[in-house]
Each structure stands twice: as structure tokens, then as C-alpha cells.
């Protein structure tokens, strides 16, 4: 099995600034922020909202690649969003799910998996995605497979769906983040920096100055 933090680093080396990344609340956002890309992404999107938010973004900006870096617990909470993705079929959307098969990795510093998510049992997210009409769905279990799947997902028309099975515990990294999370951004600051980033990319005004 592979560590989520390592896959996030690999992913960061493969995306360009003109692609838009959405990350969910939890360790994935922490790892993503550590790559230095947090302020040009929408981070710490709340439970169940990551993939649907990325879908809305992808539909609004069909010419621009949008990637959701989701996780199993978040995805399961709003599983119906896969049905919406499968029906809307945005060609510019790539959904990556880091699947550690448990909730909260036992909590930072605890060194053991948390309570199991449904993917620890019978749920196969790739099969769910396929059943929803997302034909470009795959499951990867190591760095080489991940890199190949992401490369394909970013190059080809989507929607594509990649389940990356990762270690159950992010222990070491989570502890580091707890003790040294760096300056980071709060949720409103992140909103402004992300929307300004999109305004620069798209050369248009989304949020008028001085309205609030």
C-alpha cells in the first residue's frame, strides 16, 4: 500500500496552475496545502461537498480541467453525486478518491485506523462509479499505477474516476501537520484567493470589489 501524502506530492508534480483543484476537509487538504498550491485551490471543502463542488465548477468552466481530490468518507456521504457526474458527463472533470477505508485515520497521533468506512467492507467505489455511467473508472494501489491513471485522467476527455487505495493511517504526517500546519488559510481567505485565481485565469470578474 502507499501513503496518501506521497500520492499528493506526485499529483502536485503533474498538475499545472491553469487546472483547478478542489480538496475536502481532512488530511488531504493538509497534504495539498503543503505542496504550496493551497491558495490557488479550493481547500477544506466540507464533508460530502468536494466532488459536487468540483462538478459545479467543471460545468461552469467546461474548457478548464477541474480535479476533485476526494476521500472515501466524504464520497460516501454524498454518493449520489456520482450519479450526477455520470449523467452530466463533464469532459473536463477528474475525480480522485484517496480511499483509506476508515474515518479520520484514527485521529492525528493515535497510530491506528479509525472506524471502518463502507469501503473496508463490501463497497467498491470503482464499481459504483461504473454503475453510474462513469466508464473511465479505475482503482490503483501503488505509485506507478497512480501516476499512469492521473496522466491519462488529465489528458483524456472525462469524466474519469480514480480510486487510490492508500495506507489506513497517515500517522506521521498527520502529527507533523498538527504541530506545524504553517500559516494556511481560513475558509474565507481561501474563498477570496481561489476566486481571484479563477478571475485571473478567466480574465473576468466573479466577485465584485467592495460589495461586502
Amino acid at each position: 500500500m502507499v501513503k496518501r501524502s506521497e500520492l499528493v506530492k506526485i499529483f502536485a508534480s503533474m498538475v499545472t496552475d491553469n487546472m483547478l483543484v478542489v480538496t475536502p476537509i481532512g488530511a488531504t487538504s493538509n497534504f495539498w496545502e503543503q505542496t504550496g498550491r493551497g491558495s490557488s485551490s479550493l481547500t477544506s471543502v466540507s464533508l460530502g461537498m468536494c466532488t459536487p463542488t468540483a462538478l459545479g465548477l467543471a460545468l461552469a468552466l467546461p474548457h478548464r480541467r477541474v480535479i476533485a481530490l476526494d476521500s472515501d468518507g466524504n464520497m460516501i456521504l454524498n454518493l449520489c453525486s456520482l450519479g450526477t457526474v455520470g449523467n452530466e458527463k463533464p469532459r473536463n472533470l477528474t475525480v480522485i478518491v484517496f480511499d483509506n477505508e476508515n474515518y479520520l485515520s484514527g485521529g492525528p497521533g493515535k497510530g491506528k485506523p479509525g472506524m471502518p468506512s463502507a469501503t473496508a467492507g463490501n463497497m467498491d467505489l470503482e464499481a459504483v462509479a461504473r454503475g453510474c455511467g462513469i466508464t473511465k473508472a479505475t482503482t490503483v494501489r501503488n505509485e506507478a499505477e497512480f501516476k499512469m491513471a492521473v496522466e491519462k485522467g488529465l489528458k483524456e476527455d472525462g469524466p474519469s474516476f480514480i480510486v487510490a487505495k492508500v495506507d489506513q493511517v497517515d500517522l506521521k504526517e498527520a502529527k507533523v501537520f498538527r504541530e506545524d500546519r504553517g500559516p494556511g488559510q481560513d475558509t474565507r481567505e481561501n474563498k477570496y484567493s481561489f476566486v481571484r485565481h479563477i478571475e485571473r485565469l478567466e480574465n473576468k470578474t466573479i466577485l465584485k470589489r467592495g460589495v461586502s
Binding site: 460530502g48 461537498m49 462538478l55 459545479g56 460545468l59 461552469a60 454524498n78 466573479i206
Partner: protein, 164 residues
């Protein structure tokens, strides 16, 4: 619901600049969904639950769209968590709801009357209640302007008196 009243809702949204609609159909608002889905002025996305819908709408707003969330009164309860997060982020979103449990409702839905307005107040989501068909367009326009200026979700509750 009379088609003319459904048209007033759709025209109100169009005139307010709304161009992205996310919804989960409600029996009392069926004609609105049909009109919007056919109208090229809007991109319509049908979702599986209202919390998902609020998130899709938020993503569309970041992409420069002016979204509306069209949901049932019961759906507002489902959307609560997502709307709370939008509120925290200060993301604008117009929410239009056929108001069950108020005068004009063909069935007793008093539980929604009991919950809806106290819940919107508790969430600090401003709202307007529309009781006359003639108020539909103006109220939608006013609430859309407010959500954009205030950077928070704003709701329009349209009662049975106005809709049926």
C-alpha cells in the same frame, strides 16, 4: 401549479441574471423544473439530494455562474449542513422553495411551517415570503441582488396562495 405562475418564477430568475439552476424536484414546483430544464438561458442540473445540490451550486458560483437552488421545503432540512458551510464561506446562493405548510397548501404540512422559518433564522439566512403571484418576480430579483451583495445564501419562500 398554474403554468403562468411557474413562468413568473422562471422569468423572475432569468431577469435577475440567474443562469445556473440546481434542483431536486418537488411535486408543488414541478412545472418550474420543466420550464427551466427546457430553457436555454439556464444550465439545469438535477441532483440526488439537496446537500449535494448546494455544493454543485457553490462550484458553479466559483466558475462565474449565478446559481439558484430549487428545492422542496423538506429539502431545505437536507441541505442545512451544506448551506451552513456556504454561509461560513460567505458564498452567495439564491434558494427558491415552494413553502409547504402555509396558507393555500392542499395538504396539511404544518410541520414544515413550524420548522422552516425558525431554521432559516437560526442559520442567519435572510428570506422573503411571497404570498401573491404578482410579487414573485420582484421578490426573486430583490433576493438575488441581496445574495450577491451580502455574500450569503438568501431564500425565497413561495406559499400556496401565490402558487396554486
Amino acid at each position: 401549479m398554474e403554468v403562468g405562475k411557474a413562468r413568473a418564477v422562471v422569468e423572475g430568475l432569468r431577469e435577475a441574471g440567474v443562469n445556473f439552476a440546481v434542483g431536486l424536484p418537488d411535486s408543488q414546483f414541478h412545472e418550474v423544473y420543466e420550464l427551466i430544464a427546457e430553457d436555454p438561458s439556464f444550465k439545469y442540473v438535477g441532483v440526488g439530494n439537496e446537500a449535494e445540490g448546494a455544493a454543485v451550486a457553490m462550484g458553479a458560483w466559483f466558475g462565474g455562474k449565478k446559481p439558484v437552488l430549487l428545492i422542496a421545503t423538506s429539502g431545505l432540512l437536507v441541505a442545512t449542513f451544506s448551506l451552513a458551510r456556504l454561509h461560513l464561506k460567505e458564498v452567495p446562493l439564491l434558494v427558491v422553495i415552494p413553502y409547504r405548510g402555509d396558507l393555500g397548501d392542499p395538504r396539511w404540512m404544518g410541520i414544515y411551517k413550524k420548522l422552516t422559518e425558525p431554521m432559516l433564522n437560526a442559520m442567519d439566512i435572510p428570506y422573503e415570503v411571497v404570498k401573491q403571484p404578482g410579487e414573485i418576480k420582484k421578490t426573486i430579483g430583490g433576493c438575488q441582488a441581496c445574495t450577491e451583495r451580502w455574500l450569503k445564501p438568501v431564500a425565497v419562500l413561495i406559499t400556496g396562495e401565490a402558487l396554486w
